[in-house]
Amino acid sequence: MVKIKDYGTYETAWCPGCGNFAILEAVKKALVSADLEPHQVLFVSGIGQAAKAPHYLNANVFNGLHGRSLPVATGAKLANPELKVIVQSGDGCTYGEGGNHLLAAIRRNVDLTMLVHDNLVYGLTKGQASPTSEDGFVTKAQPHGPTAEPFNPLAVAVAMRASFVARGFSGEVDHLAELIEQALAWRGFSLVDILQPCVSFNKVNTFAWFKQRCYILPADHDAGDFDAAMKKAYEWGARIPLGVIYRRESDSFEAQFPAVAAGPLAGQEVDRAALATVFNKYA
C-alpha cells in the first residue's frame, strides 16, 4: 500500500497562501488512493509556478519548456505505455503558449491526465493577464484589462468532444483529489482545469471569490450529455460548477500503434531478420 509519505515533503518556492499547496496535496492524495508508486508515475510540466509542482514530490519528472509539456508527455506515453503520465502546468503554459498542443492532445486522446493550475494570471512572470483572465483584469501589462476575451477551456474541450473534462478548485481539496483520481482512472485524455488563487498577483479571483461561487455539481449532472455539459462549461460568474463536466468513451490513441501495444519501446530489440527483409526491398 502506497502512503502519502512515500511522496515525500519538499520545500517549495511558492508564496505562503498560494493555491498550489492544496493542489499538490490533492495530487498526492489521488496518487495514494490510486495506489500508484512513485516510480510508476511520470510528471511532465512546462514552466511557471504551477509547473514547479512535480519537483515537490517523489516521482519521475520531465520539467520541460514553457508551453510544451503535452508533446513531451505524448512522446513519453508512446514510448512507455506502462507509465502513468500526468501533466501539470499553468493556465498560461497550457492555454497560452501551448494552445496548439492542447487542441492536438484532445484530438489524439492520448491516455494521460492534464492538470491545469488555473490562477487566471501569469504568476512566475509577475502578473500579466493569462488567456483565462477576466475582462477588466488590470495589470501592468494590461492597464485597461485584457484586450481579448477570456479563453474558456472547458467549452472548447467539450466542443471538441474531449474524452474527460472536469473542473476542480484548490479550496476543495478532497473533492479535487477525488476528481484527479477519476481522471487517473480514465482511459484516454483527461483535462482537469483547477481554479487556484494567486495571492500575489490576482487580487480579484481570490480564495474568497472562488469559495463564494464554486459548488460541486449535483449527481444528476449528466456528463454524457453534450448540451448539458456545454451549459455547465459556460457557467461562470455568480456560480461556478466543480466536477466532471463532460465524459465520452472513445478509442485509445496508443492502441493504433502495434509497437506500443507490445509494451515499452525501450525493451524491444531491433529485429535483424525484419531489417534484412526491409533492406532487400531496395535491391
Binding site: 508508486e37 512513485p38 516510480h39 510508476q40 511520470l42 511532465v44 514552466i47 514547479k52 519537483h55 517523489n58 516521482a59 519521475n60 519528472v61 520531465f62 520539467n63 520541460g64 519548456l65 510544451r68 503535452l70 508533446p71 513531451v72 508527455a73 505524448t74 512522446g75 513519453a76 506515453k77 508512446l78 514510448a79 512507455n80 506502462e82 507509465l83 496548439n100 498542443h101 487542441l103 492536438a104 500503434f257 502495434p258 509497437a259 506500443v260 507490445a262 515499452p264 519501446l265 525501450a266 525493451g267 524491444q268 530489440e269 531491433v270 529485429d271 535483424r272 525484419a274 531489417l275 534484412a276 527483409t277 526491409v278 533492406f279 531496395y282 535491391a283
Partner: protein, 560 residues
C-alpha cells in the same frame, strides 16, 4: 561502340509520371549492374510546371551529376525547348510525334499507338531502356515490383512496356546508346539519401519519429512509416515542428531512440527544443535537409546554407556533433553514427543533408545486417551511486542514465539549471559544476570525430575544400583537373562539427592554392575553418541558384 557512361535526362510536367518512370529506370539500371547518380529537379506544385529526372549511369563508380545530356526523354515539347542546348554531341532526343519536332538525333515516337495517356510514361521507359541496352526482363521485373498489388495497372503498364520495346527494336540503330553490359551484376541497393537516412535510423535502433511534413525531408518519415509495422516503429504526424521535437524528447527520455527530420524553416521552430535536449541531456537525432532560404525560399531546390545556423542553433552553450553525408551510403552510416553519439553523449546530434542528396538515387553496396549492431538501443549503466541522481557529475560529463518506470529509481530531468538529482536549483556553484559537466562532453565528442577525407596529390597546386553533398562533384572536378595535368587534391568534411584542426591544418598549409567549394553564397565552411584554425581558405566557388554543384560548374568557376 558501347558506352561506359551516359547521361539521361527525362523532362516533363508534374503529373506526367516522371516520379514513376525515373525510379523504375534507375532500379533497372542498378539491377543490371550499373552505377547511377540521380538529380531530381521539381517545382513547388503538384501538376504542370517543369520537372526533370536526370540519371547519370556508368559501368564504373561515379560520384556526381553531369551537365551534358546523351539522351533527352521529353514528355512534353517544353522539355525540348529548355534542354536541347544541353545535348552532348551525338545526343538523342526522344519526343512524341505530336510535338512536331524533328532534326538530327530526334527520335519521334508514335506514343498513341503504344499506350493510352496514363501509361505513356512507361512507354517512354521502354524506349529509353531499349536505347541504353537494358534487358526487357529486368525492366519488366522492376515494373512488376512497383505496381505489385495493383493488378490492372500492372497489366496495362506491362503491355505499354512490351509495345515500347518492340517498337524501339525497329528504329534505326543510330539512336541506340547501348551501355557496356555488366556480366553477373553484383547485388546493390537502389536508395536515395532520405531512404538511406531512414534505413540507417532503423538499423541503429530508432523507435520513434514524430514529424511535420516539409520538403525535402518528408520522405524520411514516410520511409519509416512504410516499414513501421515490420520494424516496430512509432511514427506520428505532429501538429507542428515544436511538438515534433518535444515528442521526440519525451519518447527518448522514456527510452525510445528518436529522430526528427525537417528543413530550415521547420528546424527554426525546433531550436528551443534542441536547447532543451542539451539541458536535459536527452538523446535526439535531428536531420535537417537543406533547401534555399531565407524563409520559404525555393522549397523544392537545393542549397548548403544552413551550416552556421545548425552549428549555433539553441540558446546557451552545449556540445553537439554535426554530420554532413557526402553520398547516399554516408547518409546511412552517418545517421547511425549520429544515433551512436546521441545515445553515448546524451544530447542532440545532427545530420545535415540537402534536397539534391535527399532525392538522389544511387547504387549502394548492400548493408551487412550482421555488422550493424543497433547503436541506438538503450543500454542500462553497469553501475551508479545510490540514491540515483540522473546528473551525477562525472569526469567525462556523461552520467549514468536510467529510464523512468524501469526500476524504483526516479529519473528527474529539468530544463532549469538543476542539481545532480535533476531538481531545479538556483545555487550558483551547482550551476557552474553542472555546466562544466555538460561542456566536458565536448572532449568525448572530439575524440570520435571523423577526420576530413584527403585525396589526390600530396603537394597540390590546387586544393578543393568541401563538405556534405558536394563531395562527388568536387571529387570529379579534381579528377578532371588531374587528368589535365593539374596537381589537384581534395579535402572533404563529412563531419562539420566538432572540427579537430590537427587533422587537417597541414593539408591546408601544404596547398599552393586552396578553394572552398560550397553550395551557398557566403562561404560558411571557409568561415568555420578560419574560426577554428585561423587559416584562410583563400578562394571560393559558390552556388546558390537552387541547383546542385556539378564538376562542370566547379571547373567553369575555377577558370574565371
Amino acid at each position: 561502340m558501347a558506352e561506359k557512361k551516359l547521361n539521361v535526362l527525362v523532362g516533363g510536367e508534374a503529373g506526367q509520371g516522371l516520379a514513376t518512370l525515373g525510379p523504375i529506370l534507375v532500379k533497372s539500371l542498378v539491377r543490371a549492374g550499373y552505377h547511377v547518380v540521380v538529380t531530381q529537379s521539381y517545382q513547388s506544385r503538384i501538376r504542370g510546371g517543369h520537372n526533370t529526372f536526370a540519371i547519370r549511369v556508368s559501368v564504373d563508380k561515379i560520384a556526381a551529376p553531369r551537365e551534358a545530356v546523351d539522351i533527352l526523354v521529353a514528355l512534353n515539347a517544353e522539355t525540348v525547348a529548355l534542354h536541347r542546348g544541353e545535348l552532348a554531341s551525338r545526343g538523342v532526343v526522344v519526343v512524341d510525334e505530336t510535338f512536331a519536332i524533328s532534326g538530327d538525333g530526334v527520335l519521334v515516337v508514335p506514343y498513341k499507338e503504344l499506350a493510352a495517356g496514363r501509361y505513356r510514361n512507361v512507354a517512354s521507359l521502354g524506349i529509353v531502356s531499349y536505347l541504353v541496352g537494358l534487358d526487357e526482363r529486368v525492366v519488366a521485373d522492376v515494373v512488376a515490383g512497383y505496381f505489385g498489388k495493383k493488378k490492372k495497372e500492372l497489366e496495362e503498364n506491362r503491355r505499354a512496356l512490351e509495345r515500347a520495346f518492340a517498337w524501339a527494336a525497329g528504329v534505326d540503330t543510330s539512336y541506340q546508346r547501348s551501355l557496356v553490359a555488366v556480366d553477373e551484376p553484383p547485388k546493390r541497393l537502389t536508395v536515395n539519401g532520405n531512404e538511406a537516412v531512414a534505413l540507417g535510423a532503423m538499423s541503429a535502433g530508432a523507435k520513434f519519429c514524430p514529424f511535420y511534413p516539409m520538403t525535402p525531408s518528408t520522405s524520411i518519415p514516410l520511409t519509416l512509416i512504410a516499414h513501421a509495422e515490420d520494424m516496430g516503429l512509432v511514427v506520428e504526424q505532429a501538429e507542428d515542428e515544436i511538438a515534433a521535437i518535444n515528442m521526440a524528447l519525451g519518447a527518448s527520455y522514456a527510452g525510445a531512440p528518436a529522430v526528427v527530420a525537417t528543413s530550415g524553416g521547420g528546424f527554426a521552430l525546433m531550436v528551443e527544443g534542441v536547447s532543451l535536449a542539451a539541458m536535459t541531456e536527452t538523446p535526439v537525432v535531428v536531420v535537417v535537409a537543406q533547401r534555399p532560404g531565407p524563409a520559404t525560399g525555393l522549397p523544392t531546390r537545393t542549397e548548403q546554407a544552413d551550416l552556421e545556423f545548425v552549428l549555433c542553433a539553441g540558446h546557451g552553450e552545449f556540445p553537439r556533433a554535426v554530420f554532413a553525408p557526402g553520398d547516399v551510403a554516408e547518409c546511412f552510416y552517418l545517421t547511425r553514427k549520429a544515433f551512436e553519439l546521441a545515445q553515448n553523449f546524451q544530447g542532440p546530434t545532427f545530420v545535415l543533408t540537402d534536397q539534391f542528396l535527399a532525392d538522389s538515387y544511387r547504387a549502394v553496396e548492400p548493408f551487412d545486417v550482421g555488422g550493424l549492431p543497433p547503436v541506438g538501443a538503450y543500454a542500462a549503466p553497469l553501475e551508479f551511486a545510490e540514491p540515483y541522481a540522473r546528473y551525477a557529475v562525472t569526469e567525462s560529463g556523461v552520467s549514468p542514465r536510467l529510464l523512468p518506470g524501469a526500476s524504483r529509481h526516479l529519473v528527474v530531468v529539468d530544463s532549469d539549471e538543476h542539481t545532480e538529482d535533476g531538481h531545479l536549483t538556483e545555487d550558483l556553484d551547482a550551476r557552474r559544476r553542472l555546466a562544466d559537466k555538460r561542456l566536458r562532453k565536448a572532449a568525448g565528442l572530439r575524440a570520435e570525430v571523423i577526420p576530413p577525407r584527403y585525396e589526390g596529390n600530396e603537394r597540390p597546386e590546387l586544393l578543393l575544400v568541401s563538405w556534405g553533398s558536394s563531395a562527388g562533384a568536387v571529387a570529379e572536378a579534381a579528377a578532371a583537373l588531374a587528368a589535365d595535368g593539374v596537381r589537384a587534391a581534395t579535402l572533404h568534411f563529412s563531419q562539420v562539427w566538432p572540427l579537430v584542426p590537427s587533422q587537417f591544418v597541414n593539408r591546408l598549409r601544404g596547398a599552393k592554392r586552396s578553394v572552398c567549394v560550397e553550395g551557398n553564397a557566403t562561404g560558411q565552411l571557409a568561415r568555420l575553418i578560419r574560426a577554428e584554425t585561423g587559416l584562410d581558405v583563400g578562394e571560393r566557388v559558390s552556388r546558390y541558384d537552387g541547383l546542385p554543384l556539378t564538376p562542370e560548374y566547379i571547373l567553369r568557376e575555377l577558370k574565371k
